[in-house]
């Protein structure tokens, strides 16, 4: 097995690992953090920020991806 083959195997493994990392939970968490950034670095009002976060959670809940048998 050449070095190139080994490199390809590792790259593929890394890609699969990344895919598995991209769970609904991580997506939701990122979305919330982006909202926080908007507040910290822009002119977003705190009440609007919390409302938006509640909306994200509601959206996530309705998606069904967070049901107990569909663990993220």
């Amino acid at each position: 097995m050449s070095n190139n083959d080994i490199k390809k195997i590792f790259e593929e493994a890394s890609r699969l690992a990344e895919q598995q990392l991209e769970t609904p939970l991580r997506q939701l968490t990122r979305k919330i953090l982006n909202e926080e950034r908007k507040y910290l670095y822009s002119d977003q009002k705190p009440a609007q920020r919390k409302k938006n976060i509640k909306d994200f959670i509601e959206e996530a809940r309705k998606s069904g991806n967070f049901k107990k048998n569909v663990r993220a």
Partner: protein, 677 residues
């Protein structure tokens, strides 16, 4: 991020328009700026920091006076700093300043090869997403006092802890954790409101008891009914016998009694109907009667205030507040805090109100008037009802008395059979009346029980309706907890791994540049950075060693940020690659350590800007970095007054004599001159 150029106008001692092009050559990644004390090194560093973040370093004095004094004295209050930079192959231009109307602005554009120059809608957000403000202080760095990072602190070393957490992007995550905590509280309150399990069980039990009681009373009522029927039958039998009596007088009496009995029943029914009418009238008029005085007072108040002109308010509160918040009149003129215009407009708030207030007042007045109108018919209706009831009761009493008299007359006949029948009838009548009374009482009681059961059932329905959202909130709470756990775990892991990475980066530098066999160790509990010898003993650090270790720590932080820039799967704020701009970094370092640090820093970061005075520069620093200097500038102080007995103190760059000060100039200012060597 790589800074390409800086242009500024009238910023502090830099009068007029002045510019610097920074080196973007990876092999010659140093832009070297020479400046003696007081000429403008710190001002230049702060020009960059201010342009990006509207902030300055702690040691920057009079930070509220950024405009050049000479320009201001000559009526020009405008100033700006503009920076061109590149980020991931894209080119940006940002400019922060104050225009001639003293209005601040910050604008940013993206120069795209295909679409041309386009403005950025939210420049503050974009600049912070490229280089977050809290990370920037380690990239745009004030070197004086940097040694304090590694001074052993009692308890936590807050500076080191904050530096690590800022570079790892903790700020947004911590803010998110706080927010999630608040939202959790909100959701828990909703769950508590909806969690009616125990209350529902209690109410069900109470209903069950009331129903049992009602069943018993219904049964007794049913018996009453039967008994009444039985007594009526017995009386009817006797009446039949009496009606068939041979005595004409008995017959006559009996007929009269039958007539009176009928009359008595009619009167009783009429009384019932009038009592029901009384209840209806009280329900209809009760609230209005009680509210009459209050309504009258409220109407008087509204009329009086309206007369005074405060209702509806003469000024729109929303508009007044908007003008004050935006500091601008509707005509566009600026309104500054504390100005006469600002104070006058603030005074309008005393008489201002929401424009909807007028509509609300009109509705309130109509309601109050209707209360007064409804009261008008109340008294006559209630009095008529009362009069009718009195009359009916009197008639009923008369009828009863006549019936008693007939009954008495019947027992006075000297006929045994009639007397016996009449006595039996009287006894049955008494029993029947008792049953009627019992029936009336039981009816009231069962009615009360029914109402009580209905009320409790209604409460149960209400609670059940409220409970419908409980699952939703519970589910949302579970999701929140998962996000919170992920964030907390991520922060913990990031912090833990940063200890190892930072220790390695610091020790790699120390291995190369420290004379002794010392290692650095970051205490995971206290965040103190210590030097330890090869026997793992803590070393008492000199000022120079502290400074060396602090500089190494900062440059390692910058390297750590760079490694995190493209990390996949990260949820925290990504790392950054940005220039390391450092003002007066080498302080108390000896010549060897100065040279070593000067050599080490450009090897570990992509772009470096050194702001150095001759004491930092001359000697080993020049020897170690000369080959990596891509651009070089000198800040020269131009002074209006004559030289007098002052010395010129030039600096020497590659053997060339370079001015640091010039006298007899037209303006007091600092100019930036490129050093061509």
């Amino acid at each position: 991020m790589k800074i390409i150029s800086l242009k500024m106008k009238n910023f502090r001692q830099f009068y007029g328009e002045q510019a610097i092009d920074f080196s973007t050559d990876p092999d010659k990644n140093i832009t070297l700026i020479h400046a003696e004390n007081g000429v403008g090194k710190t001002a230049l560093l702060n020009a960059i920091k201010w342009c990006f973040f509207e902030e300055t370093t702690l040691n920057f004095s009079q930070k509220e006076k950024l405009v050049n004094n000479y320009a201001r004295d000559n009526g020009d209050t405008s100033y700006y700093v503009a920076i061109e930079f590149e980020e991931d192959g894209e080119y940006f231009y940002c400019e922060r300043g104050y225009n001639n109307l003293s209005k601040s602005y910050f604008k940013m554009t993206r120069d795209d090869f295909e679409t041309g120059v386009r403005p950025i809608n939210d420049p503050e957000l974009l600049i912070n997403s490229i280089l977050p403000k809290e990370m920037s202080e380690y990239f745009f760095f004030q070197g004086e006092g940097v040694g304090s990072f590694t001074k052993a602190k009692v308890g936590h070393n807050r500076e080191v802890k904050e530096a690590i957490q800022n570079i790892l992007g903790f700020k947004t995550a911590q803010q998110a954790i706080d927010d999630l905590g608040d939202i959790k509280k909100d959701y828990r309150k909703e769950v508590a409101i909806r969690n009616k399990g125990s209350e529902l069980a209690k109410l069900s039990e109470e209903i069950s008891k009331l129903e049992q009681e009602k069943i018993a009373k219904d049964s007794r009522l049913s018996n009453c009914d039967k008994n009444i029927g039985m007594y009526e039958q017995l009386i009817s039998d006797i009446d039949e016998k009496l009606a068939n009596s041979n005595s004409t007088v008995v017959k006559q009496n009996h007929q009269n009694r039958a007539k009176l009995d009928k009359q008595k029943n009619v009167l009783t029914e009429k009384i019932k109907s009038k009592e029901a009418e009384k209840v209806r009238l009280i329900k209809m008029y009760g609230a209005h009667i009680f509210a009459k005085k209050l309504a009258s007072q409220a109407l008087d108040f509204i009329n009086e205030e309206e007369f005074k002109g405060t209702i509806p308010a003469p000024y729109n509160e929303n508009l007044v507040r908007q003008i004050l918040d935006e500091h601008a009149c509707i005509c566009g003129a600026p309104i500054h805090d504390g100005s006469e215009a600002y104070n006058n407009i603030s005074k309008l708030l005393k008489n201002a109100a929401d424009p909807d207030q007028g509509n609300r007042v009109i509705r309130a007045r109509e309601t109050l008037k209707s209360i007064q109108t409804k009261n008008e018919g109340a008294k006559s209706h209630l009095l008529a009802n009362q009069k009718d009831l009195i009359e009916l009761h009197n008639n009923l009493e008369d009828t009863k008395r006549e019936l008693e008299e007939i009954s008495l007359r019947m027992t006075e006949f000297n006929i045994d059979e009639i007397v016996s029948l009449e006595n039996q009838r009287k006894s049955h009548q008494q029993h029947k009346d008792t049953e009627y009374r019992t029936q009336g009482r039981l009816e009231v009681e069962t009615d009360r029980l029914k109402k009580s059961i209905d009320a409790k059932q209604s409460k149960i329905n209400q609670l059940q309706a409220q409970s419908t959202g409980i699952d939703i909130y519970q589910e949302s709470l579970d999701i929140l907890s998962e996000v919170e756990s992920l964030l907390i775990n991520t922060l913990q892991k990031a912090e833990e791994s940063s200890f190892n990475e930072l220790s390695k980066l610091i020790n790699d530098t120390l291995d190369l540049y420290v004379r002794q066999d010392f290692k650095a160790k970051i205490d995971k509990e206290t965040f103190n950075i210590r030097l330890i010898d090869n026997q793992n003993r803590s070393v008492a650090m000199s000022d120079g060693q502290q400074l060396l270790l602090s500089l190494t720590f900062i440059s390692s932080l910058i390297q750590l940020a760079a490694t995190r820039k493209n990390a996949q799967g990260e949820i925290l704020t990504p790392g950054v690659i940005a220039p390391f701009i450092i003002d007066a970094p080498f302080g108390v370092l000896d010549n060897t350590y100065k040279g070593n640090m000067a050599k080490s820093i450009p090897e570990s970061v992509e772009q470096v800007v050194f702001l150095l005075s001759s004491s930092h520069w001359e000697g080993t620093v020049e020897e170690n970095i000369r080959g990596r200097v891509g651009k070089e500038y000198n800040l020269v102080a131009e002074v209006v007054s004559p030289q007098g007995s002052k010395r010129l103190n030039p600096i020497y760059i590659k053997g060339n004599k370079i001015d640091t000060v010039r006298y007899n100039c037209s303006i007091d200012r600092t100019i930036i001159e490129e050093v061509k060597v």
